[in-house]
Amino acid sequence: MRRLFLDSSVLFTAVNSPTGGAAKLFTLSNIRLIVSPLVLSEVERNVRNKLESYHLDRFFLLTKALIIIDQFPDVARIHAAGRVIHSKDAAILAEAKFAACDILVSLDRKHFFTKEVRAFLKPKRVMTPKEIFVL
């Protein structure tokens, strides 16, 4: 069973938009959805600041379907990731690189879908939620 690491863009969008591909990932039974405490912290912070209170309820509901790995940011790993991606995304990329997962799922095409990031993540792949459906 494939293990998908969700970045903050995917989890936040799944909360924000129940009809999109990110939300539909939560309906698939043949995959495992993984996040790190950092992703949860970042998404919850933004849900509280940017969205409505019912979105917060939805956030907690969705987290029940997630596997939360026991992994915390490592400065050396973030520094290494920062060589291939914008510094704002380095912490999440580092988390995905070292998490026990097969695929990093992201909606951030501009920063996560570059040649450099793909090479950095190998043998893991980076895909959008929509691409997961045609696997």
């Binding site: 903050s8 863009s9 936040f12 969008t13 924000n16 938009s17 009809t19 999109g20 591909g21 990110a22 539909k24 405490p37 950092l38 949860l40 912290s41 970042e42 919850e44 912070r45 933004n46 600041n49 940017k50 209170s53 917060l56 907690f60 987290t63 915390f72 940011p73 973030i78 704002k88 912490a91 909606l107 951030d108 095409r109 501009k110 959008t128 939620p129 929509k130 459906f133």
Partner: protein
């Protein structure tokens, strides 16, 4: 005469003027009506119905009862911009 600004739910009053009539003001605050006390023209404190305050605190504790936010992780997190949220939504459309 002092400046007293009233809106639907709150009254704004300088602390210096409120001091002598605190008892009356305490009787005025009811439900979600409250009084903002200013010092040097800036809001400094509020006179709030104790039941309303208790209810607010209860709601707040319920809201924050469950959280994944860890203070040690916050320095590694960032605030999303409206532009990137819109871009993610567009990418996510099925």
């Amino acid at each position: 005469m002092y400046t007293l600004i009233k809106s639907e739910y709150m009254t704004i009053l300088p602390i210096t003027k409120a001091r002598s009539k605190l008892g009356d003001l305490a009787d005025q605050v009811q439900g979600s009506d409250y009084i903002i006390l200013t010092k040097g023209g800036s809001p400094k404190a509020a006179l709030v119905d104790i039941d309303y305050l208790n209810r607010l605190q209860k709601d707040l504790s319920k809201l924050y009862k469950q959280t994944f936010i860890a203070s040690g992780l916050l320095p590694f997190t960032r605030q999303f911009s409206d532009e990137e949220i819109a871009a993610w939504e567009a990418e996510d459309a099925v």
